[in-house]
């Protein structure tokens, strides 16, 4: 661009020079006059000038300096007129006169002819050459920019740059030069040749080649993929089956079985619709199964497992359920399959059959409750049933149990069970008595428990009385609140109301007592309890008046801290005269008033104190857990460092006393540690843009102590690797994948200087035009 501009300006300059040429010539002719004539003329001029000084015939006389055909007294010259003579003016009269054709032609030629360019001076030309060359060279050089940038940013540079290909000959070449010499070798070679084993690459037998050729690559791939898929599916299936087989959960298997059965039944239904004969056959199969079941003792609660469950059933809900389920199963299996039409007819009959087949218990319970196994149910919900028995006394438990025992007597049942049942009965009885005990204080059986409870109740009565004396309203209110509830729950005799009233407290005391241990004699407890309670109760009323006092004290304490806000008399020095003091006081008061008015809203000093307190709190060292698990003891998963050790390492070191400890209105920040600052980086180093970035690089460890071997190697790779003893050559275009210029640097040098100049001038022209 620059070059162009320069060239343009040069051209413009030369053109200007041409234009200037013509008018310049006019005044030049003046100077051509001879010396003598000039003098004469001047003299005449002077005379004329003098004569014209009168003013009347003052006339401008122009000197004629051009040759013209007509010599008239009226000068034609342009001088003095103040107007420039233009070529057109001259031509105008010429046009009219035909005799001046030659002159006209000449003038026309002058007008149309192009002027030869003035050659530039040498410096200019050279400069232009240089500029053009520089432009070219920098263009050539700019191809290196990406490479230089890449090398500068490279994580690692390995020198020498050019990769030398190791000259390892392929094995065939090595083999071709080798011949079998010893008999053994020859024998081996013979064998190989017999089998058409290939000696050279590709190492494939003809068979292999043929097979390769037989199947195209894609086909082979597809085939292989299919095979793979099939194999994978099989393996999945196998794995799944194995997994399922291993599952021990009975519930799961049950669910599976049920699912299968449901499926089978569905299929059956389908079959009935589609193919009734086959369905019948299927049904027969079911019938057969039923018969088999009936014959067998399966699901009859007679197996070893069933017996053990029966024992457990009294205590374990699950066992009970299991037994129920088994029985249900039995029932289900032994149920005769019926065609819909037969059901109504044979209803009664089936019942009979059932009665015959199934133990009586089942039926009875069915009558009583909706559940499938009532005697099991009874045991499981004994409490509720007992409640039920209480509610309707006609249905006494005893006959029921009798019945059970009778019915069981019919069947061959182990005697153990009977005894067990007896035991249970007794237990239930006892429970009932316990429940009723509250209602009837003089119980039939006076067990230890009841006696202790009695003692307890007495205790409670005492304490209650004490409390009543104190008349704490709150408690009363609460007790009053509880009374109706309790009454609603149990409509008990009126005598026991006080006892019942105490329920909330009693529970508390009971629990407490239990905690203390029942074996401790109650007498001992008897005394402290009321006393304690009394104390407590005493404290509560006492506390009420106390509380405000304490508050006051606290406030006072705060005021002591906030003594800045109040003017302390002790600050005043005695030496100052009182009058001045008063004056000052007034002034101060005024100022204070002003300040107060100004800062009416915010309590600066309090804020300051708060700030200081926060600062102090922040500066106190906090406990840091510095325990290293596994140091000095066993470590590992699930192991925690002992509390003793933790205590040892949890201590926060006692810091030095704060400098502003005794300066109430100063906060001296001690955050900056001078000793540490000497070791810290003060200014963010150059390539980092944020301090966090820098901190992060520092915090990621490099060493093999904290990194895996691979990571360590990666992190510590040097930026520049050189091989000792290897000459590093300057980078070459071929090294980085550029095509090196084919022409030699020398080729251009054997140049013809003229050619070069013409070439350059051409370029120059191009530049000047463009």
């Amino acid at each position: 661009m620059n070059v162009n501009r320069v060239a343009e300006s040069l051209l413009a300059l030369s053109q200007q020079e041409e234009l200037v040429d013509l008018p310049k010539n006019c005044p030049l002719s003046e100077n051509e006059d001879e010396g003598d004539s000039d003098r004469e003329r001047k003299h005449q001029k002077l005379l004329e000038a003098i004569s014209s000084l009168d003013g009347k015939n003052r006339r401008k006389l122009a000197e004629r300096s051009e040759a013209s055909l007509k010599v008239s007294e009226f000068n034609v010259s342009s001088e003095g007129s103040g107007e420039k003579l233009v070529l057109a003016d001259l031509l105008e009269p010429v046009k009219t006169t035909s005799s001046l054709a030659t002159v006209k032609k000449q003038l026309n030629r002058v007008k149309s002819k192009k002027v030869v360019e003035l050659p530039l001076n040498k410096e200019k030309i050279e400069q232009i050459h240089r500029e053009v060359a520089f432009g070219k060279t920098s263009q050539v050089l700019s191809k290196w920019d990406p490479i230089v940038l890449k090398n500068q940013q490279a994580e690692q540079l390995a020198f020498p740059l050019g990769k030398e290909q190791p000259a390892i000959a392929p094995i065939e070449h090595a083999l071709s030069g080798w011949k079998a010499r010893t008999p053994l070798e020859q024998e081996i070679f013979n064998l190989l040749h017999k089998n058409k084993q290939p000696v050279t690459d590709p190492l494939l037998t003809p068979m292999e080649k043929a097979s390769l050729r037989a199947m195209s690559l894609e086909e082979a791939k597809m085939h292989r993929a299919e095979l793979q898929r099939a194999r994978a599916l099989q393996s999945y299936y196998e794995a799944k089956a194995r997994r399922e087989k291993k599952i021990k959960s009975k519930k799961y298997h049950k669910v599976v079985k049920k699912g299968k059965a449901r499926k089978a039944s569905k299929e059956l239904e389908q079959l009935q619709k589609v193919n009734p004969t086959v369905a019948l056959e299927e049904l027969e199969k079911f019938e057969n199964a039923r018969m088999m079941e009936r014959m067998s003792l399966k699901h009859q609660n007679s197996g070893k497992w069933a017996k053990s469950k029966a024992i457990m059933a009294k205590y374990d809900l699950e066992a009970r359920q299991a037994m129920q389920e088994q029985l249900a199963k039995n029932k289900e299996l032994t149920q005769k399959l019926q065609v819909a039409s037969e059901i109504e007819e044979e209803e009664g009959g089936t019942e009979e059959v059932e009665e015959l087949l199934v133990p009586h218990v089942v039926n009875e319970v069915q009558m009583n409750v909706d559940g499938p196994n009532p005697w099991m149910l009874r045991s499981c919900t004994s409490d509720t049933r007992e409640a039920a028995t209480q509610e309707d006394p006609e249905q006494l438990p005893e006959p029921a149990t009798h019945e059970v025992s009778e019915s069981e007597g019919e069947r061959p049942v182990a005697e153990e069970e009977i005894s067990l049942r007896d035991f249970e009965e007794r237990r239930s009885l006892r429970k009932r008595s316990e429940l009723n005990q509250d209602a009837e204080p003089a119980g039939i059986q006076e067990t230890k428990d009841s006696s202790s409870q009695e003692v307890l109740s007495e205790l409670r009565a005492l304490s209650q009385k004490l409390k009543e004396n104190h008349q704490s309203r709150k408690q009363k209110a609460s007790s009053e609140g509880t009374v109706p509830q309790v009454q609603r729950e149990e409509p008990a005799p009126e005598e026991e109301v006080p006892l019942l009233l105490q329920r909330p407290e009693r529970v508390q005391t009971l629990e407490e007592l239990e905690e203390l241990g029942k074996e401790d004699c109650f007498q001992n407890k008897e005394l402290p309890r009321p006393v304690l309670e009394g104390q407590q109760s005493e404290r509560t009323p006492n506390n009420r008046p106390d509380a405000p006092k304490e508050k006051k004290e606290k406030e006072q304490l705060i005021d002591v801290q906030n003594f800045l806000t109040t003017q302390s008399p002790s600050v005043r020095s005695l030496a100052v005269p009182t009058t001045i003091e008063e004056l000052e006081d007034e002034e101060e008061r005024d100022q204070r008033q002003m300040i107060k008015e100004a800062f009416a809203g915010d309590d600066v000093i309090r804020n300051f104190l708060k700030e200081k307190r926060e600062a102090v709190e922040a500066s106190t060292p906090k406990d840091v857990d510095l325990t290293l698990p596994g140091w000095g003891e066993w470590g590992g998963v699930g192991l925690k460092p002992s509390t003793k050790k933790r205590r040892q390492f949890l201590k926060a070191p006692e810091g030095p006393p704060r400098k502003d400890k005794n300066l109430p209105n100063v906060i001296i920040s001690e955050k900056r540690n001078i000793h540490a600052a000497a070791h810290q980086v003060q200014v963010l180093p150059y390539p980092f843009t944020h301090h966090r970035q820098f901190e992060r690089t520092i915090q990621t460890p490099v060493g093999s102590t904290w990194n895996t071997q691979r990571a360590f190697q990666k992190l510590t790779t040097p930026k520049v690797i050189t091989k000792p003893g290897h000459i590093i050559k300057p980078i070459k275009a071929e090294d980085v994948g550029y095509r090196s210029s084919s022409r030699s640097d020398l080729s251009v040098i054997q140049w013809n200087p003229k050619q070069i100049t013409t070439r350059h001038s051409k370029e120059l022209k191009k530049n000047s035009v463009g």
């Binding site: 620059n2 240089r130 070219k136 000497a678 980086v681 490099v702 992190l715 590093i728 980078i731 640097d745």
Partner: protein, 445 residues
């Protein structure tokens, strides 16, 4: 009774060979290593200290010249061979491994101004004060033969420098003008000139081999294009440039060693601002040479020391000096980038390690890993004040030390004055010139 024992697989803890490392089972959980940063810091500190302890860069001094060593040249194919020319016209060829002189030639009358090897390593060229260019065989003459140059070119003017093309049988000399010679001819095939002052050195670009750079005593650096047989651009600096050197890995970068104690790294496409001004010398810089990796360069100074600069840093990372070393006239970085040679006024050639504390010889893998790790640590913690202080500490001769102080004061005073001038003049009337631009007088197209 059955005794139950702990049983372990010996593969987990027994080494296969004696040379294997002991396996150390380790838990890399960072919560278990709360002190990793302090530990690494201490390691870095130790590594830095050890680096200083082991910093013994001086390897050998090659003596034999009977006058100051004026120029040095590397053998392009052989690391062990170097050539040197002295001020009495003597050229010596040295073997670095044996550290002795293997050949001596009385090449010129007067100074040997320049010496360069042919790219193939079979011959070398010298120019001297006796207006001759001589080509010599690298191998010595046979028994009974006389030591004679292959060719001798008698010139019209004194040649002050010579450099050989990196690929072709062309060399360039400088003096009154830059001449480019075909080895086969006795006349230059091209001579380029720009200005009338004598040119002190000329250098071929090793990457784009048709480019040349020269520096003249009228304070300028001129770039030439051999293909187009024309100078390209000229930059005029504050003071004279003694020599220039091209970066062997970055085609457009060169560094100029200036009389004003500084070195200037230029991008030849933008000469109006140097890429970097390297300042640490306290006297004129006489020679400069790039490391073959292109990451660093070494400079020789009149103040009896050599310094190593990273290309992208303005301060040197290393300074070498000995009591006996006088004004260093020429310096070269060996082609394997491991050593530095310098020739000085007091007739000796010295061999230095490029990395002062580097262990020479073959390293085992563990040594190498340790070295890399230490290097990384030093790099990581280099900004920490204590580490920085130790790493930067160098002993300097008193003359250099005091000169540095003096110049610091001078510089500070100048800076203060400038600041004051700016402060007390109409805003904008005193232009703020950056340090880089301060030293550039003009760029001539």
């Amino acid at each position: 009774m059955k005794v139950k024992m702990l049983s372990r697989n010996p593969d987990n803890y027994v080494r296969e060979t004696k040379l294997d490392l002991q396996r150390v089972p380790r838990n890399y959980d960072p919560t278990l290593h709360p002190f990793e940063v302090p530990r690494e810091y201490v390691r870095a500190l130790n590594a830095t200290k050890l680096e200083r302890v082991f910093a013994k860069p001086f390897l050998a001094s090659l003596d034999g010249h009977r006058d100051g060593v004026n120029c040095l040249a590397k053998h392009p194919k052989n690391l062990a061979t170097i050539l040197s020319g002295a001020c009495d016209g003597e050229v010596r060829i040295w073997n670095l491994t044996q550290r002795n002189c293997i050949r001596t030639i009385q090449a010129h009358e007067g100074f040997v101004r320049g010496i360069c090897t042919r790219f193939c390593g079979t011959s070398f060229f010298t120019v001297g004060d006796d207006k001759t260019v001589k080509q010599w065989k690298m191998d010595g003459p046979g028994y009974g033969e006389e030591e004679e140059p292959l060719h001798t070119i008698l010139g019209k003017t004194v040649y002050t420098g010579i450099d050989h093309h990196w690929k072709e049988a062309v060399f360039a000399t400088c003096g009154q003008q830059v001449d480019i010679w075909d080895e086969q001819r006795t006349n230059p095939i091209c001579s380029m000139t720009w200005g009338f002052d004598s040119i002190s050195s000329v250098k071929f670009n090793p990457v784009e081999t048709f480019l040349l750079g020269s520096c003249a005593s009228d304070r300028n650096i001129v770039l030439y294009d051999m293909r187009q047989a024309t100078p390209l651009k000229k930059v005029i600096l504050d003071m004279r440039t003694n020599t220039i050197c091209w970066n062997p890995m970055e085609a457009f970068i060169f560094t100029a060693a200036n009389e004003d104690y500084n070195l200037y790294t230029f991008d030849m496409r933008a000469l109006d601002t140097p890429v970097m001004v390297h300042m640490d010398h306290v006297s004129a810089v006489l020679d400069v040479d790039y490391s073959p990796t292109g990451k660093e360069f070494v400079s020789a100074s009149f103040n009896k020391s050599i310094r190593i600069f990273p290309v992208d840093k303005s301060r040197s990372r290393e300074v070498y000096h000995t009591k006996r070393m006088q004004h260093v006239i020429c310096v070269k970085w060996t082609s394997d980038s491991k050593y530095i040679m310098c020739g000085s006024d007091e007739m000796n050639i010295r061999l230095w390690k490029a990395n002062a504390s580097e262990k020479l010889g073959v390293l085992t893998s563990r040594e190498k890993a340790a070295k890399d790790y230490n290097q990384k640590l030093k790099e990581k913690f280099q900004h920490y004040p204590h580490i920085k202080r130790i790493a930067r500490h160098r002993h300097l001769p008193k003359s250099i030390y005091s000169q540095i102080q003096e110049q610091r004061i001078m510089k500070e005073a100048r800076r203060r004055k400038e600041v004051n001038r700016i402060k007390h003049s109409k805003p904008g009337s005193v232009p703020i010139v950056s340090e880089k631009k301060k030293h550039i007088v003009a760029v001539v197209k």
